[in-house]
């Protein structure tokens, strides 16, 4: 099996599995006052310190959550509600048009149910958000800005520090979804100028269902979960000690290994791009060719449907993704490519290949061996109708 879907989830690192098992075997409620509670709390607090140290945050700025989706919801809804409570005129959200569903749907939900107004920031044909557009969007009724660090579909990296600075100058908290960035790009929370930053365990070698929101100490959020008051009263619920300690180790390792890892993946990715385009000359690389995630290659194959290609490659043991969300199993044209100006056909014709710690050159051999036939068949199928 050839796995090109590390951006969807990447296997846990062996060290992390070990750390998880050890902590899970120990148990303990980190809120309890007795001995085993103290031991659990110690693990959690050490984890918080390790995550903070790895990402340029202070320990008090780390809020553990149930993953990327929860962190995005907490940041966008929580900051929106808190800011609106402080100033009822602040009812606008500024968001890029290419956010992950976890942000996109949250924003649209606030629009539908909470009367939020939304300014969607356009992107250029390489998926970049421009500072001038953000400046224009920052009217004096904005509650929160949310722009992802790097795009999960096409891999384009945003100029986060510059965008955060623009938002900060307007006095608007800036949230960034950095789920895809950690372990591939240098991420320093303090230096980024962001008020809130989302990360998720299972994208960086940690467990699924655990993540964090880095949240500046002066940033007010309204909680989504009420209860025992854990995590600064922002995120109630008994802490998942094993998950958190495994997650912290994964973050630490991902950051420690980042430079070498990113260089190795980028070299492999460049080879993949070159060989795919040699095997299938019509393949178009999407996203920023330079400023992109080192593990990401994203193509359109004109005349093909991405889901037909995906099925054909899957039958050859090659696992990849169209990169875009589906609705009840039906592939949708990518909102990211549409925002980049692609037409519907191009937005449906894409495939994403993402690399990770198990990737090897032989994976690319298998891909370029299978791809031309798959493209030819998918193109034939694409001609039938539509």
């Amino acid at each position: 099996m050839v796995y090109f879907d590390h951006a969807a989830t990447t296997p846990m690192l062996p060290e992390v599995v070990e750390a998880y098992a050890a902590a899970a075997a120990t148990g303990g409620n980190a809120s309890a006052l007795h001995c085993s509670g103290r031991a659990a709390r110690r693990l959690v607090e050490e984890s918080r310190e390790r995550v903070a140290a790895a990402l340029g945050a202070r320990p008090g700025e780390v809020v553990f959550t149930g993953g990327g989706t929860e962190s995005d919801n907490l940041a966008v809804k929580g900051i929106f509600w808190a800011r609106r409570a402080a100033d009822p005129a602040r009812t606008r959200i500024v968001a890029s048009a290419v956010e992950h569903k976890a942000v996109l749907d949250t924003v649209e939900w606030l629009e539908r149910h909470e009367g939020a107004k939304v300014a969607w920031l356009p992107v250029d044909e390489l998926c970049r958000v421009h500072e001038e557009d953000l400046e224009l969007a920052l009217t004096d009724d904005v509650a929160v800005t949310t722009i992802m660090w790097a795009n999960n579909e096409v891999g384009t990296v945003q100029p986060v520090a510059a965008l955060a600075a623009v938002s900060a100058a307007a006095g608007v908290p800036f949230h960034t979804d950095a789920v895809q960035a950690i372990g591939q790009l240098p991420v320093d929370f303090a230096a980024s100028g962001a008020s809130a930053l989302t990360l998720s365990g299972h994208k960086l070698g940690g467990p699924v269902g655990v993540g964090a929101l880095l949240l500046g100490r002066d940033v007010a959020v309204t909680p989504l979960l009420h209860g025992g008051g854990q995590e600064r009263d922002v995120r109630s619920g008994t802490l998942d000690v094993a998950g958190i300690s495994a997650f912290a180790l994964a973050v630490e390792l991902a950051v420690q290994r980042r430079t070498a890892f990113a260089a190795q993946l980028a070299a492999l990715r460049d080879e993949l791009v070159e060989r795919v385009q040699a095997a299938v000359p019509c393949a178009l690389l999407n996203g920023d060719p330079g400023d992109r995630l080192p593990a990401n290659a994203h193509f359109s194959f004109p005349g093909c449907e991405g889901d037909a290609l995906l099925m054909l490659l899957d039958a050859q043991g090659i696992e990849c993704s169209t990169g875009s969300a589906c609705n009840a199993g039906v592939a949708q044209p990518s909102h990211v490519l549409l925002a980049m100006g692609a037409d519907d056909a191009r937005a449906r014709s894409s495939l994403r290949f993402t690399l990770g710690h198990s990737s090897a050159r032989t994976d690319i051999d298998a891909l370029v061996a299978a791809l031309p036939t798959a493209v030819e068949r998918a193109r034939r199928a694409g001609k039938i109708r539509r």
Binding site: C326, V330, A381, I384
Partner: protein, 356 residues
Amino acid sequence: MRVLAAMSGGVDSAVAAALAAEAGHDVTGVHLALAKNPQTYRSGARGCCTLEDSRDARRAADVIGIPFYVWDMVEEFQEDVVDDFVAEYAAGRTPNPCLRCNEKIKFHAVLERALALGFDAVVTGHHARLGADGLLRRSVDAGKDQSYVLGVLNSHQLAKSMFPLGGYTKEQVRELAAARGLGVAGKPDSHDICFIADGDTQGFLAARLGSSPGDIVDSETGEVVGAHDGAYQYTIGQRKGLSIGRPAPDGKPRYVLSITPVTNTVTVGPRAALEVSTVTGDRALWLAPSPGGAVQVQLRAHGEVHDAQVSVVDDEIIAVLGKPALGIAPGQTMVVYQPDPAGDIVLGSATISAAR
């Protein structure tokens, strides 16, 4: 062979996929997304397009251990089945959408796509037999037989199809499902038209065709005996709900005899006038070398079977029935069978254009 199993989420298609896999084929399951807004179909008729059905199909594929995908056929289904259904009613005919779906979607759009993608055949859970002789026969389960709705398939389509269930009764299919741990073993059969969730065909048509008032005319006197709000609301042979003001001279009930779209007229008359003995169909599909001996025709799904003398002329099939049939509407499909001890054989089909 590489075969594509069309999986609706029901027990039949799940077992068909399982049997194909057990026969050694390389099977891939595909659920067809047909509804524009699948959520709205979650309740009501358990047809082929609810989200629940899609999940059931995926779960069955996982149990069988085959890959599973959802194919988006929303546009094709809308144009070729739903729009066609409405247009046929508007033209005064009575269509069978399941048959159209087989002809245009499952065994055309899906089949051609599958072939282009490198599959050798499509397998479905229809109750019909298709053996090595290439002949399409009725299922061993006469009550569940679906050869009628497959009667529109041409020899190319049949050559690329597999119907593994034809030799089993529905009861046996459920047992096969249970024995394989398929959760859909006890799932109720789907009835009704899958895209009309609440089963209200009249309401569905009224919402699309609107009000179009016209006359109800007596076939014998030519008199206008009532008014209607849309001829599509009537079916041939209908007796109830005609709201005819005055009684017929003979005091007997009146039936809908015909619908004439050009004049927007519904013609009513006595029951005897509903009887037809010659049925003509166009868009003929003929699979057999020649019609021989005593053949039979079936004029609607789950309808009566008639002995008939059939002749095929170009694009037309003309059937002279042994005994008269009642209430045959243009638009319905006539399927011709050759009686056979090993299962009656489908010889051909045509769309009924006239019945006298």
